[in-house]
Amino acid sequence: MRSYMDLVQAANQQKKKIGRVVLQEQASELEKTAEELFERMRANLRVMYQAVETGLKKKEHSLSGLSGGDAVKVEQRRLNGQSLVGDRLSGAVARALAVAEVNAGMGKIVAAPTAGSCGVLPGVLLTVQESGNYPEEEVVLALFTAAGLGMVVAERATLAGAEGGCQAEIGSAAAMAAAAAVELAGGTPEETAHAAAITMKSFLGLVCDPVAGLVEVPCIKRNATAAVLALTGAEMALAGVKSAIPLDEVIDTMALIGRQLPCSLRETAQGGLAATPTARKIQLTLP
């Protein structure tokens, strides 16, 4: 899949959702039945939702001791009716944090598209699903929409922080979540593209600078902020707001910026936040 606009066109021609087009294309490419692929994706969705549940319960810390327990804090405040931004956004924040914390604590997650960005899609999708009481099948289809966009990003650019910085991991996850949210909420194929483009533009240039080289600081909290930006992009696109720059060109720009990033800002823990005095101090205290 070279172009997301091709997917939009195919969906319009066939009068189908993008998720359905991706599912059919993959069934023929992988020589499997659509049902088989659908069930495998359903299993992935259930792992995602299980991780949300686990992460909202546990207060344990990661191996390094650098992270853990934050999802519970946010969720508690929401449950107490104290949320500043409202139930829905605060739920997305807590859930994205929850999954990212489960990952840091050696729990089971689905890389989406990477382990470091695994909280964004579950955080966004579970929140949108609740908002409209959508059946599980619709959410599974939305995962195919997200995956279709991820395949385009993988072909035109990269999903690896070591190659493209955080914009390639968290930025792609957020764009995928925005497109999936729009399709789940009943938006048109064009609107999924605008949502993804608007969202990805907010991440252009974001560097990968993990403290001590671990997938914790700043990665876990970026999952939460990315979930909110994805919902923001979806909100705009569903209202008819358009991205002036088409999605495919935004993806190409992300690739270009990734190549222009110095090595120190691409997952080497040599620059950015990883090079701060505090990060250096933290590094010395690790086992």
Partner: protein, 223 residues
């Protein structure tokens, strides 16, 4: 390599925190176990580069041992791998070392098995949970674990490779890729055959009867 698909994007299902340092490490341990072809009892594990530097915080050590015990990357027992190794009678010794001009995420296993098999395996985790085995004993190899694979150590004599391929052809097994390397002319050679179909035990037995064969192992693809 096959074209990228939706489950490469939304997947793997894995125990965190890192696809390269955790999921890939489990797969490296599992490949090493398959190459040993025995229940591992002793493992000397040398971590190189980023595996040595950030491995602890990523649970790389736990992941490698979990793989040696036969676990897959989504096994929720991975965090308890050390206790499980102790219970299974697997002794592990870790050290950091320079393995030379290799990938930054590299590891070397020196393994001894329950029935006396020994193997040295060099591998690297190249990202997204994908791995490459780059050395078996003293031989450079290139295995990704994508295909059913036959690894044979044999005398370097004319006709050995032909015999192997004849047995495979008779069993209707299609060869995807094949490489032969040797220490020196006439000494021990290593042949690696990646195939489209799995070898059934009858074919493996036929291969085992070849007189020049020192050892052979069949490795199922990793999931």
């Amino acid at each position: 390599m096959a074209r990228i698909n939706v489950f490469d994007i939304l997947g793997p299902v894995m125990v965190g925190p890192s696809s390269s340092h955790t999921a890939g490490a489990v797969r490296l341990g599992l490949m090493a176990r398959k190459i040993l072809g025995d229940e591992p009892r002793e493992a000397k594990i040398i971590l190189h580069g980023s595996f040595a530097e950030t491995g602890k915080g990523h649970g790389t050590d736990l992941a490698l041992v979990a793989g040696l015990l036969g676990m897959l990357p989504d096994d929720e027992r991975i965090p308890r791998a050390m206790e499980m190794a102790a219970a299974a009678g697997l002794k592990t010794v870790f050290s950091a070392g320079d393995l030379g001009d290799v990938h930054p995420n590299s590891v070397r296993f020196d393994l001894k098995g329950a029935t006396g098999h020994e193997a040295t395996v060099l591998g690297c985790s190249i990202g997204g949970g994908q791995i490459e085995i780059r050395g078996i004993d003293e031989f450079p190899v290139m295995l990704r674990g994508d295909y059913p694979t036959l690894v044979i150590l044999h005398q370097d004599l004319p006709g050995v490779v032909a015999q192997v391929t004849a047995i495979l052809a008779a069993a209707q097994i299609n060869i995807a890729e094949m490489r032969v390397s040797r220490e020196k002319k006439g000494a021990v050679a290593l042949t690696v055959v990646e195939m489209d179909q799995k070898i059934d035990p009858a074919v493996a037995a036929l291969l085992g009867k070849m007189p020049v064969l020192k050892r052979s192992m069949t490795i199922d693809p990793l999931v």
